[in-house]
């Protein structure tokens, strides 16, 4: 159904952008509220969940070559149930996409443009996403390839540059929380990481299929290091408890940077990173939901769904949360169950187990 082809590296980089671009802004404070200075351990532990998700989705894709997640759901669960789950997945894509847009607008409001109504950011970024997706998967995957570099450099700079404010003794004592609490917090961190199952929608568009599980694992691990880096840096600069009290510790971290009097306002770097990253994240979710809707209903094309689904996504993001506290509450309490523990890892894992008992079917028109 997707006419374009992307390379394995492009997919891995796309997934990296998708996974990295919101978690670094939310996880430090949400995690620090639960486990204070040990928050970085949860980020590393969450890598395990992410790797599991990546392995499961690649294993499923290997079993059903040339099919997307939505396409092989009916093959595994039978047609009616498969379609129902397909619909649920599409809704998941849409809903998570809506959350991302919401977070994006909220972040911009707080950081650089406090007076602009959030709806304005949502509409403009959505319009650009629509334009990008209309140009085809190949095009925005390519642009992502070069811009991810900017995103990562900005993030690493913000992690490293406040070195003169850091006091690593604030990280002590290490692992001073019950393992249960650490694991449950890592589920939260892992929920973002489990967005790696989006790869299930892109894998059929790959031009070759060799190292994809390796690539996805590398990207999940890499994200683990970046998130842990942000958290270590934030805790070292602010301390464990204050990190949890800040609205966006990563952003506060950027404000701490001051080098030779000139580079003392580097938070704009972070805003650029956020904007680019979130843009591609929204693109990815919009793409998946468009493709998903088309495949659930068995359409031959999906491009025509782009406009209605963009509008729907926009409407959902405008209406799904009343305010920031509700969003934060959702992220810290509901999101692990909605992400990792259902759609992100558990459902795909169950699907794979069921698929093991199904005969391998050779389907796919060339």
């Amino acid at each position: 159904m997707e006419p374009g082809k992307i390379s394995e590296r492009q997919l891995a980089l796309l997934i990296t952008t998708t996974l990295i671009s919101t978690v670094v802004f939310w996880m430090p404070q949400l995690g620090a509220r639960a486990v204070e200075q040990d928050v970085w351990i949860t980020a590393l532990a969450a890598t395990i969940w992410g790797i599991l998700s990546a392995l499961v989705i690649v294993a499923l894709a290997r079993r059903h070559p040339g099919l997307t997640l939505i396409e092989y759901l009916p093959l595994i669960l039978g047609k009616p149930l498969g379609k129902v789950f397909g619909g649920l997945y599409v809704f998941w894509f849409l809903f998570v996409g809506a959350i991302v847009i919401r977070e994006f607008a909220h972040f911009l409001n707080i950081t650089i443009m406090p007076k602009t109504p959030p709806a304005f950011f949502m509409v403009t970024i959505m319009a650009l996403c629509f334009y990008a997706l209309r140009g085809g998967l190949e095009v925005w995957a390519r642009v992502n390839e070069i811009l991810l570099f900017v995103v990562v450099v900005a993030m690493v700079a913000v992690i490293v540059l406040p070195y003169n404010h850091m006091d690593l003794s604030r990280l002590l004592p290490i692992a001073d929380h019950p393992p249960g609490l650490l694991i449950s917090t890592s589920l939260l961190s892992g929920s973002w990481r489990s967005e790696v199952i989006l790869a299930g929608m892109f894998i059929p568009a790959l031009s070759c299929f060799r190292h994809i599980s390796r690539n996805l694992i590398i990207s999940v691990v890499f994200i683990g290091f970046i998130v842990a880096g942000v958290e270590i840096s934030a805790v070292a600069v602010f301390g464990g408890v204050p990190t949890g009290q800040k609205e966006f510790p990563f952003f506060s971290l950027a404000r701490m940077i001051s080098l030779i009097r000139i580079f003392d306002r580097l938070e704009v770097l972070l805003v650029v990173a956020l904007l680019l990253g979130t843009f591609f994240k929204i693109c990815a979710f919009l793409y998946c939901s468009t493709l998903g809707v088309a495949q659930v209903f068995g359409f031959k094309e999906f491009q025509f769904l782009l406009l209605p689904l963009s509008v729907l996504l926009l409407a959902m993001s405008l209406n799904s949360f009343k305010g920031v506290p509700e969003l934060t509450d959702f992220l810290s309490n509901v999101w692990p169950g909605y992400g990792l523990l259902s759609f992100g890892l558990v459902i795909p894992l169950l699907l794979y187990l069921i698929a093991l008992f199904r005969p391998v079917r050779q389907v796919r028109e060339p």
């Binding site: 650089i112 950011f121 650009l128 990008a132 140009g135 306002r265």
Partner: protein, 537 residues
């Protein structure tokens, strides 16, 4: 030789031969009559009401001749030679003894000391030759005529390229004559695989266009596509290669140049060697080469002639220049309007000091100065030489000095615009790109003025996405960057030394992809050859 008789819409053959193809016969056909008077009458009727045509009747011995040409398009000295050969030095007997129908052949083979002649049996063809600024000779009693290439169209001598001057490297540039231009290319690339195909475009101008490519490098699919796009053209006149450019490019609605035009033969040859094709259009000193990619426009010819250890710096300057030319004004406006807190403290005071007395918002100031700059640019192109000094004074004194002194604009802004203007012309060889940058700059200024950094990021992202979606003859426009092809990064921000350019660009070159097998220069470690000499001594 140019075959002027190709019908305009001839279909390109699929997988056709690489050489110039056969000329289809002209649609109308009128045989040359044996009676010279009939032919003259026909031609006079066809060229009625044309004052600059010359019909010259003369006798060579007892044989009647008619020469026809357009005045001014024929080399006078050469035409005198023709008349001398026929009227004075003619061996009458043999011409008279030759059968009447063979007279044209006889003259062609024995009496015409010109390298380019051609026999024709069709008056329509004769007419075309005359229109194509050749001389035509008709003989009484012979049903065929003779074209003699004594063409001497008014033309400019070969000179230094005007748009793309360089410090190092060759200094010759293309002119308006297609033959001179193809000769400049051919003389640099003496390879039988450099093919050229002629097309006649323009129902009325009948402009010759030559498609050149190296057959065993270029991608045959791209060449076939080029043929297809060229033969689609149906226009009354082609006055410059940019006409062709607009009609064969992949996407219409884009500010970016998708096909490169250049005045420099060395660039064209380099492009041909990378597997591109060139389109030489008569009457235009700009030769088109395609497929083109974006970074080509940020490269200059000098880059390949100067030390590669320096090129990376000059190229980085250019990348910086395009960033400044597009973004600086917008960033400045956004900074002053929305993000004052991001300006370093010492700078805030100096900028605020200069802005204190300026009555307008910085956005309007910037727009005003930018438009003034664009006006200056535009007027300095159209300027008659004699009034140049006046505009210079107005530009420098009135706009620079007076605008600041009257506190219409702040001095900082003047600097910003000046840097932008300088950067606009430091982009390498691409004047086309400099034009695109003007539009992008306006868009970014508007976005920065309305939305601050957010708007600038949105618009930049938009242009990036737009650029990544463009293609030039199927080749992704943003090629070695998006899609990212690490193998081809040898000619982006740094240029590899020539011995290291092993591969031609993979997406452009179709076949023979090895460019260079030279091993890296490796003098023997202990300089033994040098020591050997000194020992002898």
């Amino acid at each position: 030789m140019l075959h002027f008789l190709r019908s305009i819409n001839s279909k390109a053959k699929k997988g056709g031969p690489s050489g110039p193809r056969k000329i289809p016969p002209p649609r109308k056909f009128k045989e040359i009559s044996s009676n010279l008077a009939d032919n003259e009458a026909y031609l006079r009727q066809e060229f009625a009401n044309i004052s600059d045509i010359v019909f010259r009747r003369f006798y060579a011995g007892e044989v009647k001749f008619l020469a026809v040409w357009f005045d001014g398009l024929i080399n006078n000295r050469v035409s005198q030679d023709i008349f001398r050969a026929l009227m004075l030095d003619i061996p009458d007997k043999r011409l008279l003894e030759a059968p009447k129908e063979k007279r044209a052949d006889f003259i062609n083979l024995r009496l015409m000391p010109f390298y380019d002649t051609q026999k024709a049996i069709d008056l329509e063809e004769i007419k075309h030759w005359i229109l194509a600024s050749k001389m035509v000779l008709l003989v009484d009693g012979c049903p065929s005529g003779l074209m003699i290439d004594a063409e001497n169209r008014p033309q400019r001598p070969i000179s230094e390229p005007i748009v793309e001057p360089t410090v190092l490297g060759p200094h010759d540039g293309f002119v308006e004559n297609i033959r001179v231009n193809t000769a400049l290319i051919r003389s640099r690339l003496g390879d039988a695989m450099l093919k050229s195909e002629d097309y006649i475009i323009g129902r009325r101008t009948s402009t010759p266009v030559t498609l050149m490519y190296v057959a065993d490098i270029a991608n045959p699919g791209i060449i076939e596509e080029a043929r297809r796009r060229i033969s689609r053209i149906d226009i009354d006149g082609v006055l410059d290669s940019s006409y062709i450019k607009e009609m064969i490019q992949d996407r219409v609605f884009t500010v970016f140049p998708l096909i490169k035009g250049t005045e420099r033969p060395d660039i064209v040859v380099a492009d041909l060697l990378e597997g591109r094709f060139a389109l030489v259009v008569d009457g235009s000193p700009q030769v088109l080469t395609a497929p083109s990619i974006f970074i080509e426009f940020l490269q200059a010819t000098d880059d390949y002639y100067i030390n590669p250890m320096v090129v990376w710096f000059i190229r980085s300057l250019r990348y910086l220049a395009i960033f400044i030319a597009t973004n600086l004004v917008g960033l400045y406006v956004a900074l002053i309007t929305y993000h004052q807190e991001m300006i370093p403290i010492p700078l805030v005071f100096s900028i605020a000091g200069t802005r204190e007395i300026v009555p307008f918002p910085v956005f309007f100031d910037a727009l005003f100065l930018l438009i003034v700059f664009e006006l200056l640019w535009e007027s300095s192109i159209r300027l008659p030489r004699v009034v140049g000094a006046a505009i210079n004074i107005v530009g420098a004194l009135i706009l620079g000095e007076a605008a600041v002194q009257s506190s219409l604009v702040s001095p900082t802004l003047v600097i910003v615009i000046a840097v932008t203007a300088v950067a606009n012309f430091a982009l390498g060889s691409g004047y086309d790109l400099a034009l695109a940058v003007r539009i992008i700059r306006l868009a970014i200024l508007a976005a920065g003025g309305i939305l601050g950094f957010y708007g600038i990021a949105l618009v930049s992202l938009f242009f990036l996405l737009h650029m990544a979606g463009l293609r030039s003859f199927g080749v992704p426009y943003f090629e070695p960057l998006a899609p990212l092809i690490s193998k081809e990064m040898k000619d982006t921000i740094y240029r590899a030394p020539h011995w290291d350019f092993n591969e031609r660009p993979a997406l452009i070159a179709g076949k023979d992809t090895t460019r260079d097998n030279t091993p890296p220069p490796a003098p023997p470690a202990n300089n033994s050859f040098f020591n050997a000499r000194s020992k002898k001594r």
